[in-house]
Symmetry: C2
């Protein structure tokens, strides 16, 4: 019998509702402890964007937003709330596609993510006029959490922060990495040799996005599992990594 | 202490080189048995495209391909092998993007997948003039494997067949589902209520693609792990499903 290679996706449940200023690391570690779960070196802690945004005060009340003329015009054209439209424009650096008829607005966020409505959404937030913006810099958020976990538990782990985006060409959303720390987000097979001794020419795998996608299987939207630990995956370490290497430059992008 | 929710990604190793006509199900079950691994009801067997194509005789020798005039012209323009170009055109129903300078050709395959070179590649195939085409119909292939596993082991499992594609906007490839059986590939949250009692408006999750992505973490390209079992994920069953619901109709696609 050979050894069975196994990767585990472990949901951390029992994390309470997170508010601005809450210590997210402490909330996660406390929930893990209540489960009898201990972090090890090499674990990947995958955190959904919403609780990161909440802890960083990125909830905005639409009652406090004064839409600009252009936001009002777009909102009327697309059947959207002008205050939400204002926030989408504020959070974006360019509009990638607009479909007036179906009310679809794909923008490039200030971080460089291509997604609908600049990643702003209103599910799983308390209060009917509240929406949630993406963290200002999820790489920095991930770095902070990694450091706090290291200090609190003495373990060397990676952190991946995720959000759910749509894709070109395919229906349905999947989770993507919007911030990383401690893990190299792309695995480069270029120049390596395959099982038949042939050069693997052109393959670079976006493992951070695959980790994000894997984690979503355990963080069902309506349940309260905003954090997942992936254990047993031998990832390439990098103390200075960010997701930015996964964001295709517009000059190389055939679909913008 | 609450119960720890856990999903496992288990790599099946020791599967021998697959040739045309080989019984893939038997090869997988035999390798699993050698590992001391038994399939259970509710497992998802995730199979990489390459071994499905090999068992179905989808390896083609470039020595047997006579390129058409148009294939020769494109190949010259893009610095590609005219015989490979001929196969790409034969396997495609439309060209989505061509970048002559960088030699990038994105097509829509006859199945409806948008990917580079119609999914044809030459890594992990034996022989220097051999390339591998996608299975003719991976949904049918998945259905056949699901049925054979059910007959051989008496278990009700799902099968997902995957391939590695590039994406718009983001660097790096990830795994996608190109065929399914027994599992509904999309999970529809529309109309459900979130943890705060608010309607989750617009989210449909492409779980088959997330399963494919998760599986890639255990099927490192150069190692011989072409099959993975995902255990502990409570997926929606569907005996008649295909991946076709995940393929966005061109009329709804803002990026073609």
């Amino acid at each position: 019998m050979t050894e069975i290679p196994k990767i585990e996706i472990i949901g951390i449940n029992g994390i309470p509702e997170i508010s601005q200023g809450d210590d997210l690391t402490e909330a996660i570690l406390s929930a893990a402890e209540n489960m009898g779960f201990t972090l090890y070196d090499g674990d990947i802690v995958v955190v959904t964007q919403k609780i990161v945004s909440k802890s960083e005060g990125r909830l905005v009340s639409l009652l406090d937003v004064s839409p600009s003329d252009i936001a009002i015009q777009y909102a009327v054209d697309m059947g959207k709330d002008p205050r939400l439209m204002e926030l989408v424009l504020q959070e974006s650096k360019s509009i990638v596609r607009m479909d007036m008829k179906r009310g679809i607005l794909i923008t490039e966020t200030k971080h460089g993510f291509i997604c609908a409505n600049a990643g702003i959404d209103s599910s799983n937030v308390p209060g009917s006029d509240i929406v949630c913006l993406l963290p200002i810099d999820s790489n920095t958020s991930a770095r902070g959490m990694r450091r706090s976990i290291n200090i609190a538990c003495g373990v060397d782990i990676a952190v991946v922060i995720t959000d759910t985006f749509g894709r070109a060409w395919r229906e349905g959303h999947t989770n993507f990495a919007i911030g990383v720390s401690g893990i190299e987000p792309m695995l480069d097979y270029r120049g390596t040799i395959d099982a038949n001794g042939r050069l693997l020419k052109a393959t670079t795998i976006a493992i951070a996005d695959e980790i994000a996608a894997a984690s979503e299987l355990a963080t069902a939207k309506s349940d309260n599992i905003p954090v997942v630990v992936i254990r047993g995956y031998d990832y390439p370490h990098n103390n200075d990594s960010t997701v930015d290497v996964m964001l295709r430059d517009i000059a190389r992008d055939l679909f913008r």
